[in-house]
Symmetry: C3
Subunit: 129 residues, 3 copies
């Protein structure tokens, strides 16, 4: 599971960096806390960060369970595609909100693969034991 | 822990579906990103998804630790109640925001059971070793 | 890993309590769902809860991987600092948004320590096997 752990950790680091970018955008566009709106560019950074959170809550347990119940190697491979999709999403969204689509769809597909694969693997384990 | 894994995975799949419903509502009510407000019905879907995220960050580690430190069987049973509560919450909230209460309270109770149970189990393990 | 489990669980309990405070603030400041704005004090509670979620998605897997790949003892120690930082953050932010800084910086530093430490530990495991 070392490679799965590595992919999870890199996804967390990417998210940590996105959080730093939100903080920087808050200063740059002069959005005083607790406001989270007020400048379209700030809102892009904020929404990228938020959406990444929404995906990580699925990704981290799903890739781990897929790794445990199906294949650690394939979990790492699909996880690496997820990681690339999230970077694509972030870069696209910050450039222009409508350019978030490719990354969003690819993230969703990788999550669906992990969820369905892990579901099959878990059910198989339950049935076989 | 197979049954705990199954409950966690089903909760993730429910959340994944809720995310899809937000995307569909974004199109249906013509809320262009990065906005997350603008139509009360869109906001219901958005808030259901957001609240489910807030609960999952507690549920996933708590049910796992409860399963490891207290009882895998009871973790799965309480987890199944949580899952039902989240579906009740989502269906209720989308029908009318004030109808989210039953599901919200039941989610909170199951989380409290998992948190307190796991806390007792962990402290017992620390004391006994 | 018992102490790491304890720190994770206490962070989840703190977050659960913050969620309860948001609910109480919603009633106190008469913010009807699905709105999440409308009164500056409600927004502080809401943002504290939200920011804590954003940190937990990093903290929970990172402290666990650090514990597995580097040192369970140090994971628990750094995790305890994180826990203190989050309480500092919440108390500061609710008093005045600009007083969230100390807790926010300390949270970020502990997360960076966990992320970088775990990354080094995982890479070392991959290289050595």
């Amino acid at each position: 599971m070392n490679w799965v752990a590595l992919v999870v950790l890199l996804a967390l680091i990417e998210y940590f960096v996105l959080g730093g970018l939100v903080g920087r955008a808050r200063v740059k566009y002069a959005i005083a806390a607790p406001a989270v709106t007020g400048h379209p560019l700030f809102e892009r950074y904020f929404r990228v960060h938020q959406n990444s959170l929404e995906q990580l809550i699925i990704f981290v347990p799903a890739v781990w369970l897929f790794g445990l119940y199906v294949s650690a190697l394939w979990a790492a491979v699909v996880g690496a595609v997820f990681l690339a999709a999230r970077i694509l999403y972030a870069v696209g969204y910050i450039a222009a909100p409508e350019r978030r689509e490719a990354g969003a769809v690819l993230s969703g597909v990788t999550e669906a693969v992990l969820l369905i694969g892990a579901l099959v693997g878990i059910i198989r384990s339950i049935v076989l034991t």
